[in-house]
Subunit: 278 residues, 2 copies
């Protein structure tokens, strides 16, 4: 199959590596001519150009840009792709993209591979990034069944689990397990930076794995943290309001010295965490 | 030196292993006769008994029980130890212990090794648990300088860093980097357990390393989570109030769609996290 990859970073580059291994023919595109050159030199794709018009021959185009560029990229591709070509994306929010994208290109189907590392860019592209991960496909009523089955068949050999969910269910789910943790964690770090010098210095000295883990996603890429909120605002706000209620409840238990109530809350957290992490 | 260890769990057992390697003579004590037997059989201590009276000959007694048992244990030991013997503890809160303990036993000095694993009990005791960790000693005005220097000299060979801090500074610091993260993380898990079935099921399926890390300390030992709040209530409440303010500020940015403000918050989190984790 002739596959186009727009955005040759961690996800786009890694998808290209897998598709190349499967014997597909690969057209790459990146805004950066240097990245295009690297992708060709390293045999990540067979050819690459910053000019999206070069993708005219492909059967399916994967848009692997940062979230804000998905729709603008598709708008340009809509004047380039053959009418029977499929377009798809890999963005971590779907409601803000899928309906608008389907209007721009009826043969669009939304996707989201739940995979990543802390690295970014073409240098981070790697084989087996998707092994064991979940790939969410988010069709809407207008989505063509052939677009779904083509995407599924491309994913089959990648040793991952394909799941189908409505965009709004996807967005609500990732708000809970990905976007809310990032906000909670960022608020934690900015709170921990406020104590007076002597206290702050000792806190920094004593911080170990507990702080490291809880603060990790909040101390990550600011562009991504902002985009999560911007493009999944409603679902995230619902999660944030529920979280604030729970936090207030916890604070009230501590204020009231209700230690059996706090014990129950921690007990519940221990039990409820299991199905998320096993 | 003749060293007593009360509480033969992860910390007490691991301290005993290190002190034994240094050639000290070790008296162990645990409420559980079975644990005493295991500790002797495995050469963790030279002798052990559930009867605290057996510790009469020691030069220094380490109280390594759970937090609620530190003061009651010291009260009993005060009728047993020789007047020149030193008593110390390893509890993760100090204000609630050190002043009261010094009144019970003038030759008391508080301590807190910042070390641990997810394991508990004598089976978790291990060599090198303290290598590279920070051992906080928390003297008050009445603390005997000899008690501090004896504790320091015992710690020197363990390849760790000894830090001295007032109990209230210690408690404020651990509230920020240990107790607050546990509360934030527990509130996160209990919030994430609330969505309707279809959303919850997908969330559980999609949760990966971000959720795993952010939820880890909140899904831990409920006894410990409760004790942190109970015995460090004031410092924890101060941290919780600051945290709630930061969270409210973040929520307001999302509500107001102030994306440059949110970007700055994430940028600040990324920069502020560094001195805590490097």
């Amino acid at each position: 199959m002739k596959i186009g990859i727009v955005g040759l970073g961690l996800i786009g580059g890694s998808l290209a590596l897998e598709f190349g291994k499967q014997g597909h023919e690969l057209w790459g595109s990146s805004r950066s001519a240097a990245t295009c050159q690297i992708a060709v030199d390293r045999h990540v794709v067979h050819r690459a150009s910053p000019d999206l018009a070069s993708l005219a021959p492909v059967d399916i185009a994967f848009i692997c840009t940062p979230i804000p560029y998905v729709l603008p990229t598709l708008k340009t591709l809509a004047g380039i792709l053959r009418p029977e070509a499929i377009a798809t994306d890999v963005a971590s929010v779907k409601g803000a993209i899928v309906t608008a994208a389907t209007e721009l290109w009826p043969n669009f189907v939304g996707g989201h591979p739940m995979a990543g590392t802390t690295q970014q860019g073409i240098d981070a592209a790697q084989f087996d990034l998707f092994a064991g991960c979940t790939y969410v496909i988010t069709p809407v009523k207008q989505t063509q069944p052939e677009a779904i089955s083509t995407l599924e068949s491309l994913m089959q050999p990648l040793n991952l689990t394909v799941v189908t969910a409505a965009p709004e269910i996807h967005d609500a789910a990732v708000a809970w397990i990905s976007h809310l943790p990032a906000m909670v964690s960022a608020a934690l770090v900015t709170a921990c930076g406020t104590p007076p010098p002597e206290e702050l210095q000792l806190a920094q000295q004593l911080a170990s794995s507990g702080f490291r883990d809880t603060s990790r996603v909040g101390g990550g890429n600011p562009e991504l943290g902002t985009a999560m909120a911007q493009f999944n605002r409603e679902a995230l706000l619902r999660s944030l309001y529920t979280y604030r209620d729970r936090l207030d409840g916890l604070i009230q238990l501590v204020e009231a010295e209700d230690w059996s109530g706090l014990f129950e809350l921690f007990q519940q957290a221990r039990v409820w965490r299991v199905p998320f992490v096993e």
